[in-house]
């Protein structure tokens, strides 16, 4: 286990930064391609990562995305500073959203973010503290 190679890279994301929204996911996708991950797996990782990144941009103040790749799995951890999610179970329900009208105007806030992440990742853990922030950790097996 300790001899297993691990690639790790971190990305800083700012809330409301719509200009750069999605860039971390694009870079992560490029890294996964260089490592030779199967296109279908890359696509799942990309969708899950993009949704998580957009959640930060839409709802949080800032976050660190950490990508870890081993020969066994891709692990993406998104740790944000924000309002947190009061009821994670509710947030996981497709169609549930607390998005403002402004966010909906932009074409987001359909309540599919977390369900989409769950559908594309093999495992998803969410830990949230109201008033502090949310940490989301997803893994996709190779």
């Amino acid at each position: 286990m300790s001899n297993e190679p691990v690639f790790c890279q971190r990305f800083e994301i700012s809330g409301k930064d719509f200009i750069n929204a999605g860039k971390a996911s694009t870079t992560i996708k490029a890294i996964l391609r260089e490592i030779g991950i199967q296109p279908a797996v890359i696509r799942r990782a990309a969708i899950a990562c993009y949704e998580a990144e957009m959640n930060v941009v839409l709802y949080a103040r800032k976050a660190i995305i950490e990508l870890r790749v081993t020969p066994q799995e891709i692990r993406i951890r998104v740790e944000d500073e924000g309002d947190g999610i009061p009821d994670v179970g509710l947030a996981m329900q497709p169609g549930y959203s607390t998005a403002s009208d402004e966010i909906r105007e932009m074409g987001f806030g359909a309540g599919m973010g977390l369900p989409n992440i769950k559908n594309n990742a093999d495992t998803l853990q969410i830990h949230s503290v109201v008033g502090r922030g949310t940490t989301l950790e997803m893994a996709i097996g190779l």
């Binding site: 690639f7 490592i35 991950i37 969708i47 993009y50 790749v69």
Partner: protein, 431 residues
């Protein structure tokens, strides 16, 4: 297909290593080594941007020349509608057809009419399609290459309908074979092309074995003979030329395909940067409410192809005015085209293969190790992407170092920083 045929070739004797090409290549497929540019074959997507910017004309588009067609008994010029927008405003398409006969082609055949028919075919395809959306236009060869290399999971979104130039070539060849009693190989069908990428699509057509076209001559190569031929042409010479009408006249303009479609939820995107942003969105599961995306590698569509002569915006203006005058009169009966569509006249059953870029290593554990080394090397590099090493960015240079394609000493910034402490020992380039 092992080696790749590419739309451009570097003439080393003319290359001075000026690095203009290095910076514009959208796929980072160029390296300048020992003062000469070289193309990394598996990365090149044939956009021709490098040829456009080379100050020495050292990057040569691989189109055909007139002498290549001496073997044919009968030659047919296949006119990309872009050509109609290249000459003086008052030169009408039918004059150009007549002028091409005068230059030495036995026949000249318009492609705009086939473009209109292909639009109808795309509409029919969209109407019965029930799979994931949006579908993508397959008519820009560079876009197809881009998707094969970088977005292999989007390949199935490329519409399996043949390009207007192929449809037009097949039709005119069959017609002339019957009319003149000639064999297939006795007739040469030559596309007058706005870009070098079409040459790749002719040599290696996606989804089929052989193109209906025998070669392509650059519009820039035919421009001067054509100018001379049209300048002294009287009104009489135009009379035998056919007139060109229909929505296909808009195809060379960005958005022209979308305009010619009945599908309402479609969009047009030009320029590789913006096309990539759209493809990224689609990969992220977005844009599913759009039916059709018209994609062009060139920002202005084929009007701005690298082998055109006139300013792309001027050409665009001329094409739009032609479209306004003649676009409203259909070139073919729509019902006839629909019937042809349902007899698979436009369909391409073959698969487009993916051509993903090689990873850092075939073994995933080794690839991870190598990507870690790339990251470590990147940390010591200046991150100014100066290109002096011969790679376009510090990241691509780090990859080259890890793959033993370049020594770390090629980074002049790094060497300059280390120079005082390593004076006298900086000769070792064997890494």
């Amino acid at each position: 297909m092992d080696g790749y045929f590419h739309s451009v070739r570097i003439a080393p004797e003319r290359c001075t290593g000026s690095m203009a090409c290095l910076k514009v290549c959208p796929t980072e497929a160029i390296r300048v080594r020992r003062g000469k540019a070289a193309i990394l074959e598996d990365r090149c997507i044939d956009c021709g941007e490098c040829a456009r910017v080379c100050p020495r004309n050292a990057i040569v588009p691989q189109t055909s020349s007139f002498t290549d067609f001496a073997r044919f008994q009968y030659t047919i010029a296949l006119i990309s509608p872009v050509l109609y927008g290249q000459l003086r405003k008052e030169v009408m398409p039918r004059t150009i057809v007549a002028a091409l006969r005068k230059i030495g082609f036995d026949e000249a055949c318009d492609v705009a009419c086939a473009s209109e028919a292909v639009s109808t075919a795309v509409d029919e395809y969209l109407a019965s399609y029930r799979g994931p959306l949006p579908l993508l236009s397959p008519f820009c060869p560079t876009i197809v290459r881009l998707i094969q290399a970088r977005y292999p999971d989007l390949i199935d979104l490329l519409i399996p309908i043949d390009s207007p130039m192929e449809i037009a070539a097949r039709d005119i060849r069959q017609k002339k074979m019957k009319e003149l009693g000639l064999r297939r190989e006795e007739i040469g069908v030559i596309y007058l092309t706005p870009c070098p990428a079409k040459m790749v699509a002719i040599k290696y057509p996606p989804r089929k074995k052989k193109s209906h076209i025998d070669g392509a001559i650059a519009i820039s190569d035919i421009y001067h003979p054509l100018l001379a031929a049209t300048s002294d042409m009287s009104g009489d010479a135009c009379k035998d030329g056919q007139s060109v009408t229909g929505s296909g006249l808009g195809w060379p303009v960005l958005g022209g395909q979308v305009l010619s479609l009945r599908a309402e939820r479609s969009l047009a995107v030009g320029g590789l940067d913006d096309v990539e942003r759209i493809l990224e969105e689609i990969e992220n599961g977005k844009l599913g409410d759009i039916q059709y995306v018209e994609c062009h590698a060139c920002p202005q569509g084929c009007c701005g192809g690298s082998l055109t002569v006139d300013n792309p915006y001027v050409t665009r203006g001329k094409m739009l005015s032609l479209l306004a005058r003649f676009g409203g009169t259909p070139c073919q009966d729509r019902e006839t085209v629909r019937e042809l569509y349902h007899r698979n006249y436009f369909s391409l059953p073959g698969k487009i293969s993916s051509r993903p870029l090689a990873p850092l290593d075939q073994d995933i554990a080794k690839a991870i190790e190598k990507r870690k080394r790339v990251q470590e090397i990147c940390r010591v590099l200046p991150q100014i992407n100066c290109g002096a090493c011969g790679a376009p960015t510090c990241l691509s240079f780090a990859e080259d170092v890890v793959l033993d394609q370049a020594p770390l000493q090629d980074c002049v910034v790094l060497m300059a920083r280390q120079a005082p402490s390593e004076a006298g020992s900086g000769k070792d380039h064997a890494a």
